[in-house]
Symmetry: C2
Subunit: 337 residues, 2 copies
């Protein structure tokens, strides 16, 4: 009966769900808006609904699941399933894992959303076969995940991998986190749009103001791509600078962490990989030691929006199994009584 696993990906704006069979194949999927402003209980309800829709698509009920996995923004405690806080989601020590376990009647395993995406790319995407992986996802912010010897790495803080918040330019722009000069404050879409806005204010021209006005508020990664391709000099310069900083961050991490594969994903990379990847590679190679860079691959993510649900599902299935293994000796000794 229990041959399926449900993967969930909770984002600030949307929820993604997918059912995987026990071979790791994606059977069905569902999506919904998060509507985070309605509060934690409402978000919980929408997660359950989105999961239920994915189960319906696969023609199964929760009884057919052996486990549920969910990737969530953090910080969080992956052992207890509690989301410590999330500004976007209005979560404050919210027991997401236990609450979902109650609703689905199955064991639920929680991890950071970017960890789940990195793990998905590691198991089924662009980083297959490597054993040391660094995932970096560039969108509104910059998040990261680390795989060490084939395992997701959490560190003592349980929340390691915050590569967007390593300082690359001390004293640089103020970051959302309160610090200055973090990679996120230099190369996220938020940073790119802020730099464009400032340049426009200083009298520079960009095609983007026609559609978006001088505040450039709703500029998407796709808009940036289009402007770049239409030879918008200001956009090109700004994107190139962001790519340089991403490369500097990756070069530093190659020296410190020594990953074999660096997987780049997120909206900005998905839209602008062709333009940015060669610049990122060159910039990383300038920072990293030659011997540390040798054989390292910097690649674009392959699974797009599905990386998170696939990763969350595989995390759940693996943790469920290893729990089973740990519990087996006890079970065996009970049976022997």
């Amino acid at each position: 009966m229990e041959r399926f696993v449900l993967g969930l990906d909770l984002g600030g704006t949307k929820i993604n769900a997918a059912v995987l069979d026990d071979a790791g194949n994606l059977i069905s999927g569902a999506r919904n808006k998060t509507e985070a402003e309605l509060g934690a209980e409402s978000v919980l309800e929408r997660i359950v609904q989105t999961g239920a829709k994915a189960l319906e698509g696969a023609g199964i009920t929760p009884n057919h699941l052996y486990a549920v996995g969910i990737g969530s923004p953090g910080p969080l405690d992956w052992r207890t399933g509690v989301i410590i806080e999330s500004a976007h989601l209005n979560f404050d020590h919210f027991p997401l894992g236990p609450r979902l376990a109650e609703r689905f009647g199955r064991p639920v395993f929680v991890d950071n959303d970017v960890n789940a995406g990195t793990y998905g790319e590691f198991k089924k995407g662009a980083a297959r076969g490597a054993s040391h992986v660094l995932g970096m996802f560039v969108g509104t912010g910059i998040g990261g995940g680390i795989v060490v010897k084939g395992e997701l790495y959490h560190g003592f803080s349980k929340n390691a991998g915050e590569v967007g918040h390593m300082v690359v330019l001390a004293g640089g722009p103020r970051c959302n986190c309160g610090s200055r000069g973090c990679l996120e404050s230099l190369a996220s879409r938020t940073a790119i749009v802020r730099d464009l806005r400032k340049a426009v204010k200083d009298g520079r021209k960009t095609s983007l103001t026609k559609q978006h006005g001088k505040r450039l508020e709703e500029v998407s990664s796709g808009d940036l791509k289009e402007a770049y391709q239409h030879e918008d000099k200001l956009v090109q310069k700004t994107i190139k600078r962001a790519a340089k900083y991403i490369g500097i961050g990756i070069g530093s991490l190659v020296n410190v962490l020594g990953p074999e594969v660096v997987v780049l994903g997120g909206g900005v990379i998905e839209a602008l990989a062709d333009e940015m990847l060669p610049l990122i590679e060159r910039s990383a190679a300038r920072v990293a030691f030659k011997f540390s860079m040798k054989g390292v691959r910097i690649v674009r993510a392959e699974l797009g929006d599905d990386a998170g649900v696939i990763g969350a599902a595989i995390i759940a299935s693996e943790r469920f199994e290893s729990q089973g293994r740990r519990q087996q000796p006890e079970a065996a000794s009970e049976a022997g009584r």
Copy 2:
């Protein structure tokens, strides 16, 4: 018979050796100059001599050793014992491990010198009991070592942990490694002296010029300490800036790696820990997320110069044992024939 292990620490200027018993107690030690300028074969000879002197001090011969461990500057391949290159030591793909094994007639295990120091502090020093440790050693350069789940971390590059070469100030001072704005280029003794020299050239005053002239060539960490304590304003300002950058580097690494204990060692820290540590802590806490900094201890190394030999000896004894374990099944099956 085989109840001892020999630990060696190969530095650019000196060689350190120590004999440990099987409980990890330091029995005897010996020191010698490296005289690296005489070439690899001469350095090898001096390592063997220093080791022999330590054995003599313990009243034993190589036959009483089960293994030898050595920490060496890198990059190196810890699996084969080959030093890929070392500018200071004129090593070029030098098979240090195999050559020493030949001389001592015992298995030799090689690792990076800073890894060995970090591991020594982890096993016997300031980071005892933690399972995620970051070691940072600030001297002429800045080196690092990483312990993950109780094991030294090497990464895909086999040379991870180069925390001195993460870029903290993009476009900053030129670093020895060829890049710009690495932590080493901002906070090593070399960087501190360079900043002081530049300030003197610009007309600023420091007590250090009396003894060392305007080029400040032979300024030691002890000299810096003395000037700091005698209210030398320029030295104080320069040391404080270095401490700020070290803290920024540590804060970034707390976000990315999530260590439980950060051990700080090396000549600069040994001399100036009282002055620098509070500044380093404050600066790190400004960069790191609160939830990642929670419970993290930033401490000074306890073992001083012995960290390297103790770490190298313990690495050797552990690898020797785990090799034995791996080989036992074969041996057992041979015996069963």
